[in-house]
């Protein structure tokens, strides 16, 4: 017997798990990746997908309430601002002539 609450909880668990996975992978990438560009890439994934899907999970968990609208607005804000800041960082680094990592450079 599948109840409505069960479905909601399943969606929340899947979304939080997705977000936590991206946070973990992004953090590992931030520590382990070789150069600035790939680290920025990892950190941006971490913010966008991780925080975004966890905020969505919170909205689903709250149900149809004013606070859920705020959560979705926050998720939209993160979805806009995080890639933009990543883009600005990478662009600034590229413009100042920061070299990227290559296999033959090691």
């Amino acid at each position: 017997m599948i109840s409505y609450e069960g479905i909601i909880n399943a969606i929340v668990v899947v979304l939080v798990g997705f977000g936590a996975f991206f946070f973990l992978v992004g953090t590992i990438g931030l520590v382990r990746l070789p150069d600035f560009y790939s680290r920025t890439h990892a950190a941006t994934k971490c913010d966008t997908l991780g925080a975004g899907s966890i905020l969505l999970a919170l909205a689903v968990f709250n149900g149809l309430e004013p606070s859920s609208v705020k959560m979705i607005a926050l998720a939209a804000l993160v979805l806009l601002s995080s890639p933009t800041s990543g883009h600005a960082l990478a662009r600034a680094a590229h413009r100042t002539g920061l070299d990227y990592w290559r296999l033959d450079k090691e």
């Binding site: 804000l77 806009l80 601002s81 933009t84 883009h87 600005a88 662009r91 600034a92 413009r95 002539g97």
Partner: protein, 249 residues
């Protein structure tokens, strides 16, 4: 001899102060007057008396309005002094000799035009800046009901100006904040306190006195909103001006 006189004078002054401190109730004592009388009064009657749903704002602007007046005056005088130092030195000087020399990357390096602003960043900032402004206005105007108020909203509004300055360039933002207007705006916080203080004299005979009658609930709320707007606008103006003074064109 002189040092000994100063030291003995200090000791003579210190003894009564230390005795007075020892007489104070111990910190965190639940039987201290502040917990049995003052806090209880604020919590039980603060919303009714101060006219603000948000107790923090009620205490800050109504019960302790005079302290906040002093605080605002001190903060804004300090900020104005910092701004004065920045403006008299003709903007901040570059320490060129301290910078590492730019890596040589070919002859055309010096002739490269300055980096244009990324269209992505430009679009997103243009999209988000009005929302930041609305949020700042909400935080300022709604400070007596929900957490927030003039200081927080002013910082958010100033941050909006800073983001716009970084992305659009100081040359585009500076005309929006003309010198004579900004000079008045950065004094908005103490000026609003003076205005509301004078209103308080008219109402109750006391500087910054809020009318206590039950029927004047709306007046108390409006006075608080005016104070919040003054603090917010003043804070935003002075943050924006400090940043503009540090930013070259």
């Amino acid at each position: 001899m002189k040092n000994a006189a100063v030291a003995s004078l200090l000791v003579i002054f210190a003894i009564p102060l230390l005795i007075a401190v020892a007489e104070l109730p111990p910190f965190g004592d639940p039987d201290a007057p502040i917990h049995t009388h003052i806090s209880a009064r604020y919590i039980e009657q603060g919303v009714e008396e101060a006219g603000a749903e948000n107790l923090v704002t009620g205490v800050l602007l109504n019960y302790r309005g005079f302290d906040t007046f002093g605080e605002v005056t001190v903060i804004f005088t300090a900020l104005a002094a910092a701004l004065a130092v920045l403006l008299t030195s003709g903007g901040v000087q570059y320490f060129q000799e301290d910078r590492p020399p730019a890596p040589p990357k070919g002859a055309d390096e010096s002739e490269r035009p300055p980096t244009p602003v990324s269209p992505v960043v430009l679009f997103v900032v243009r999209l988000l800046a009005p929302f930041i402004g609305i949020f700042a206005a909400f935080v300022i105007l709604h400070g007596h009901v929900t957490p927030g108020g003039g200081f927080q909203g002013g910082a958010i509004l100033g941050a909006m100006f800073i983001v716009l300055t970084i992305v659009l360039g100081a040359g585009k933002v500076r005309p929006r904040l003309p010198e004579p207007l900004a000079r008045w705006l950065q004094g908005a916080a103490p000026l609003s306190f003076v205005l509301i203080g004078a209103l308080g004299v008219a109402f109750t005979g006391f500087y910054l006195g809020f009318p206590p009658e039950h029927s004047l609930h709306l007046v108390r709320e409006l006075m608080m909103v005016v104070l919040e707007i003054g603090i917010g606008v003043g804070g935003a103006a002075i943050f924006a001006r400090i940043f503009l003074a540090m930013e070259a064109d």
